[in-house]
Symmetry: C2
Amino acid sequence: MYLTRAYIDSLEHLYKINLINSVSGFKSANLIGTKSTKNITNVAVFSSVVHYGSAPPILGFVVRPSSVRRNTYDNIKETGYFTINHIHHDIIEDAHHTSAKYSSEISEFDKTNLKEEYLNDFYAPFVEGCPIKIGLKYIDEYYIKANGTILVLGEIIDLHINDSLIKEDGFIDLLEGNVTAINGLDAYTVPKIKTRLSYQRPKN
Amino acid sequence: MYLTRAYIDSLEHLYKINLINSVSGFKSANLIGTKSTKNITNVAVFSSVVHYGSAPPILGFVVRPSSVRRNTYDNIKETGYFTINHIHHDIIEDAHHTSAKYSSEISEFDKTNLKEEYLNDFYAPFVEGCPIKIGLKYIDEYYIKANGTILVLGEIIDLHINDSLIKEDGFIDLLEGNVTAINGLDAYTVPKIKTRLSYQRPKN
């Protein structure tokens, strides 16, 4: 099927967001945990977390100022800290429910079976039971002129990983952790089989 | 395992990049196709393509100026156009090989079985056989001060999707397309089973 830009622009809203949210490929499935200065916690599903660098270790994610996930952004701006927690097989439903539009006065931890966990005095809540839990400090943000979204960048301060997932060369086996990936806005998959390839050099 | 930032910073280079490239979760697996003003094509694997918006449809990806993928960036800056093509099960090895450091005078299409394809007069080459092929026009870039990487944004101009993958509500089933996801720097997985959940509203 060939879809021109004019055709895409003419699509009905829900059809269009299903389509364009699927079109980039599989996405990371993360819960971002924050806590306001009033001590109200927040946890929300994000599928835009991306690696920006390893030295220093930097991750970024995209926030849409008009969305429910604005609470996440406000808490990070107020306090400087947030956590990224991997959505695993057992918490898919609760993780997805955090996309519901709760006010900033209500914690999604009180509306789901997700449990907040505090580790090593890190300010923001981790999500208990996640195989990978990352504590980050806000470093910078970029306002995207084209559509008003914001790229938020954080550096990794603390990292908690289930021991068995880390291999000899530093590779973290996400499949062994039953970590999910997201397809579109609402489909979750738990990949089962992987192929590791070698470092590639030019052929003659 | 608890890894402090000081410990992460002290890790050996390869261990560190394996670890931090795995830590964000599963990543999209895409081939970005470009063509220089000298008519030399380039195709390179990227795992940082992210959805920035649906109206207008905008995708972004991250490029490290010092890397081999600089050819991709240079071609986009020179010509304004690029393609994003989904890596599917049958081309994993060739797709991964595009990470080898070829000079800008050599096309990865000549060093692999990947075939360039031109559709509807779009300037940049698509990758033949990919279930999803996206033609994009460069719109903007953001220089990331923290580490010198660049976020490149493009708007979707043309979209080619295998008919059977698009569902009634616009959802594209990546699993039916045998589309891959990336774990870390070098592991590819083809997810097989998915769960679609409903739109979430607050509980009382």
